[in-house]
C-alpha cells in the first residue's frame, strides 16, 4: 500500500498519535532493545540527584522511532529514502505525542517519483519535541 504521486499535493498532512501518557516502562523497553542504558532515561535517582534533571526522560531515538511509525504507516514499508530529525525538547514520562508529516514537494529523480515531507512531533502542550524531514518513493 504505497502512496500515489497523483494524489499528493504540497500542504497535505498526515497526523498520528504515536504515544499517549508515555510510561517509564516503555522507556526501559527501548533502553533494552536499543542498548542505550544511559541512566538519564531509566534511573530516577541518578537523574534527579546527580544529573540535575526533574525526572528521567525519553531517548531522543525513542521519539524518532515512534515518529517513524507514523511515516512508515503512511508511506508504506521499504519506501523511505531519507529520514532526519533534530531533538528540540525533552520528552518526559506522562507525555502524549502527536506526529505530523506535511507534503513539501513531489519530485522525480532517476525516473523515480519521490515525496518530500516535513516532519514534526509535538507534546500535549503543543511544544515541538522533534523537527525534521523525510523522503519516500511513491507510485
Amino acid at each position: 500500500m504505497a502512496l500515489s504521486a497523483n494524489e499528493l499535493k504540497p500542504g497535505h498532512t498526515h497526523t498520528a498519535r504515536i504515544v499517549e501518557d508515555l510510561k517509564r516502562t516503555q522507556i526501559v523497553q527501548y533502553a533494552g532493545a536499543s542498548g542505550d542504558y544511559n541512566p538519564l532515561h531509566t534511573d530516577e535517582i541518578f537523574t534527579t540527584k546527580v544529573a540535575g534533571y526533574p525526572s528521567v526522560f525519553a531517548h531522543g531515538m525513542l521519539t524518532m522511532g515512534m515518529t517513524g511509525r507514523m511515516l512508515t504507516d503512511w508511506v508504506g514499508d521499504t519506501r523511505l529514502t531519507k529520514y532526519g530529525v533534530r531533538f528540540t525538547s525533552q520528552v518526559f514520562p506522562g507525555d502524549t505525542l502527536d506526529a505530523t508529516a506535511t507534503v513539501k514537494n513531489i519530485v522525480e529523480r532517476d525516473g523515480q517519483k519521490l515525496v518530500e515531507l516535513d516532519v514534526k512531533t509535538v507534546n500535549q502542550d503543543g511544544v515541538e519535541v522533534l523537527s525534521g524531514y523525510a523522503e519516500a518513493r511513491v507510485d
Binding site: 504505497a2 532493545a33 544529573a51 540535575g52 531522543g60 522511532g65 514499508d77 519506501r79 529514502t81
Partner: protein, 171 residues
C-alpha cells in the same frame, strides 16, 4: 575510523519494534511479511541505532566487573572525572539523519564503519555553551552493499538543559 559487525536478528527486530510501539507485522511475522512489498521481515527505519548492542566499547552499557555510573547504594556508582562517552549524563543526542539505500532484512550481517565529522560550538537558548560533534556511520551488508548511511550529532551542554516553565509540573 572504527568498524563493527552487526548481525540483524529477527528476535531483536521484534523487541525493538515493540519498544517503539509499532505493531506492524512486517517486523515480526515472517509469513505475513512475505505477502508485503518488503517480501520478508525487515527492520524499522531507526533500527541501526541498536548496533550499540554489538559494540564492545559502547560506553552507555554496564560492563561485567566494571564500575557503572547509575545509582545503587548511592545516587551514582562512580564519581565523574569529566568527559567520555556521555558518562555522568553530560552528553545528549541533538540530531539524527538516515539515508536508506536498500531494505534492512532479518538475516543480514552489517558492517558499520564510523568516521568522526566536524565539531562546533554554539550559545544555547536554555543550556549555556553547547559543544556539538558529528559522526557518520556507513552500514554495509554481507554483500558489501550500502544499506544505511547514518549521521549523528551529539551535544554536550555546559549545564543541564533548563526546563520550559510548563514542563516543571511534569517531573
Amino acid at each position: 575510523m572504527a568498524t563493527k559487525t552487526f548481525p540483524i536478528e529477527a528476535g531483536h527486530i521484534m523487541m525493538f519494534a515493540r519498544s517503539i510501539g509499532d505493531p506492524n507485522p512486517v517486523y515480526y511475522d515472517a509469513e505475513a511479511a512475505k505477502k508485503t512489498e518488503a517480501g520478508g521481515v525487515i527492520a524499522p527505519p531507526t533500527f541501526v541505532q541498536a548496533s550499540a548492542q554489538f559494540d564492545p566499547d559502547y560506553g552507555l552499557r554496564p560492563k561485567i566487573g566494571q564500575p557503572w555510573f547509575g545509582s545503587g547504594k548511592n545516587p551514582t556508582g562512580v564519581q565523574r572525572t569529566g568527559g567520555g562517552g556521555g558518562g555522568g549524563g553530560g552528553g545528549l543526542h541533538a540530531e539524527q539523519h538516515y539515508e536508506y539505500h536498500r531494505p534492512l532484512r532479518a538475516g543480514d550481517v552489517l558492517t558499520a564503519t564510523t568516521t568522526p565529522g566536524k565539531t562546533w560550538e554554539k550559545q544555547g537558548r536554555r543550556g549555556g555553551t553547547l559543544l556539538f560533534s558529528e559522526s557518520v556511520t556507513e552500514y554495509r551488508n554481507q554483500n558489501g552493499e550500502l544499506v544505511v548511511t547514518a549521521r549523528s550529532v551529539g551535544v554536550r551542554p555546559s549545564k543541564p538543559v533548563e526546563q520550559q516553565p510548563k514542563k516543571e509540573e511534569n517531573a
